[in-house]
Symmetry: D3
Subunit: 129 residues, 6 copies
C-alpha cells in the first residue's frame, strides 16, 4: 500500500447517529438539511485528518437522496478521500441506514465535497503528502 493509500485508509471517518425525534420532519423521516449538515461535518473531518491542514468547503457536488431515512433507525456516515489535487481534494460521503431490530442495511444518500487547503493568510496552499 502506498503512502497515499495508507493516508486515505487512515483518514476514513465514521459517524453513527440514532434518528430521534429532534432530527425528523413531520413525515417522520430525517430532514434533508440535517443529513447535509452531518455529511459536511464528516467530510470536513475526513479532509482535515487526511491533510492535517486548514481545510474549507468550496463546493458540494450533486447529492442524491435515494431513499428516505425513517425515524427510529440508525445511520452511519462514511467519509473517504477520493481525489487529491494540488491545493484541493474531494471527499465522498455515503449514508447507510440500519434497521434497529434487524441486520438490514442499505445506502440511502451519497455525495461528494470539495475542500481547499488554506495558509494563514487564507490563500490556497499545496496539500502535503
Amino acid at each position: 500500500m502506498s503512502t497515499r493509500e495508507a493516508k486515505i485508509a487512515q483518514s476514513e471517518t465514521r459517524i453513527f447517529k440514532a434518528v430521534f425525534p429532534n432530527t425528523t420532519n413531520h413525515y417522520d423521516t430525517l430532514f434533508g438539511g440535517t443529513a447535509m449538515q452531518l455529511m459536511d461535518e464528516v467530510a470536513f473531518i475526513t479532509a482535515t485528518r487526511f491533510s492535517r491542514q486548514r481545510m474549507v468547503t468550496v463546493s458540494s457536488d450533486r447529492i442524491d437522496f435515494t431513499k428516505p431515512i425513517p425515524a427510529a433507525t440508525i445511520v452511519e456516515l462514511v467519509g473517504k478521500v477520493t481525489y487529491l489535487g494540488n491545493t484541493s481534494l474531494k471527499v465522498r460521503v455515503d449514508i447507510f441506514v440500519e434497521q434497529m431490530y434487524s441486520d438490514e442495511r442499505e445506502k440511502a444518500v451519497s455525495g461528494e465535497f470539495t475542500f481547499v487547503a488554506l495558509d494563514e493568510n487564507k490563500k490556497p496552499v499545496r496539500i502535503l503528502e
Copy 2:
C-alpha cells in the same frame, strides 16, 4: 403575469439569520453544514408553498461556497422556484451576506434543490398548477 409567474412570485421564501457563535466553526465562519441545512429548509418551504402538496428533497445540485460567511454578520436566504416538471420542481437558493454596521451586501453561496411531489402512498404525483 401568468398564473405560474404569480405563484412563483408568491411562493418566494426568505429567511434572515444573525450569525452568532452557536453556528460558527473555529475559523469563526458559518459552518458549511449549517448553511446547507438552512438552504434545504428554505427550499423545502418554497416548494411546499408553491405546490401546497407533500414535497420531498430528491437531490441537491452543485453548491458553490463562493465566499466565507464571517461571524457577526447577517445572512438572508432566498428560495425561488426555477423549473416545473410533471412531478418535480427545482428551487434555487441564494445566500446573501450583509455587514451589520454598513450597507455592504453580497452573494456568498448558491445552489439548486430538486423536489418531488408525493401522494398519500408516497408515489410521485402530478404537481397541480
Copy 3:
C-alpha cells in the same frame, strides 16, 4: 417616499420556518418560548438593518398569543420599525401561520420590542438617519 420610509421598507425582515417536532411541546403546538426567541431574533435583525448601529433589546411590550401554532404548519415572522426616537426605536413583529396544503394564512402572534443604540462604551447614542 421619504428617506425614513425608504429605510423602514428596506429594513423589513422576514423569517420563514417549518414547525417540526424539535420546536413543539407535548400539545403538539409551537412552544411559546420558541416563538418569543424567533421574535426577538427577527426584531434584532430589523433594528440592526435599519440603524446599522449596535442595538440591544431593552424591553418587549405585551405579546399576545392569539392562536396556537400547530405542528406541521409554516410560520412567517415579519419585523418592521414602527417608532424612531433619539436613541431608541421600536420594532413590531407579527407571526403568520400558513397551512402546508392549502392557501389558508392568518396572524397568530404579535408584539413590539424596544431597542437602544449603544456606542463603543455601551452608552446610549443617537440613531442616525
Copy 4:
C-alpha cells in the same frame, strides 16, 4: 398559611443555567430571545405545577431587560404565581445573575406571563384550588 399560599410556595420553580458560548450573541451577552425562551419555560412549569391542569400561554406582559447578562456568569430564573382568576393565572419570572467567582448577585430581567387552563376540547376551564 392558607391552602392557596401553600400551593403558591410549593409551585415556585427555579432554573439555574450557566451562560456558555452556545447561548450568547456577538456582544458576548445572553441573547434576549434565549432569556425569553427560558422565562416562558419556567413560567409554564410554574403554572402547571400550581394547577396540575393543561395550561397554555396567552400573553406576556412588558419584559424589562434592565441589565445585560454577560457570558461566563450563572443565571437563576424564579417563577411564582402572582394572580389567580377563574380560568387564568399570572406567573412572575425574575432572572438573577450571579458572578461565578464572587458572591455578587443582582436582578437582571423580570416579566409576567398569563396562562389559561384548557379542558380536553381546548375550551377555558376553571382553575381548581
Copy 5:
C-alpha cells in the same frame, strides 16, 4: 449551623425542565445522555457556587437510572455538595420526576460527580472555606 453547612445549603442548585419531544428518544422517554448532560450542568453550577473558584469535572461515580422518565412529565434536578476535600469536592445530583396533572413525584436517577479546583495555571488549588 456551621459556615460550611450554610455554604452547602446556599449552594444547593435546582433545575426544572419540561420533557418535550426535542429531548426524547423513540421509546418516548428522556434520552439517558440528555439526563447526564443536565446532571453535569447542575453539578458544575453547584460546585462553582459553593467554592466560587474555577472547577472542572474529574469523574462521575456510578449513575443509576432507576426509572425511565416519560415524555410529557416535569423533572427537577437537585445538586448538593456531599464531600469536601483539600482540592476536590463531590456533588450529589438527584432527578425527580413529577407528573404534570397530579401531585405524584418520585426519584428517578441519582449520581455523584467529583470536581477539582484549578488555579490560573490549571494546577489543583485548595478549596477555600
Copy 6:
C-alpha cells in the same frame, strides 16, 4: 473467531466530532455533560447493533475525565461490548482526542455503560446470540 466475537467486532460503533464553539464552556474545553451525552449515544447504538433488541441504559459506571478536551480538536468515540449477561450487557466507551494539524492522538475519557434488553411489555428479556 466465534460468533460472539464476530458480533462484538461488527457492532463496534464510532462517532467522530469536531469540537466547535457550540459544544464548549467558558474554559474553551468540551463541556463534561456534552461528552457524557455523546458517550451514552454511542453506547446505546453499540448495544442496539449488537443485540438488535430494545435496549435501555440502566447505569453508567465511574467515568474518568483524564484530560480536558480543548476547542478546535477532533474527538473520536468508540463503543465496544465488553460483557454479556442473560438480560444485560456492558459497553465500554473511549474518547480519543486528535489534534487537527498534527497526528497527535490520545485517550481523554473512558467509561462503561450497562444496558438491559426489554420486551414489548418493558420486562427484561434474554439477549439473543
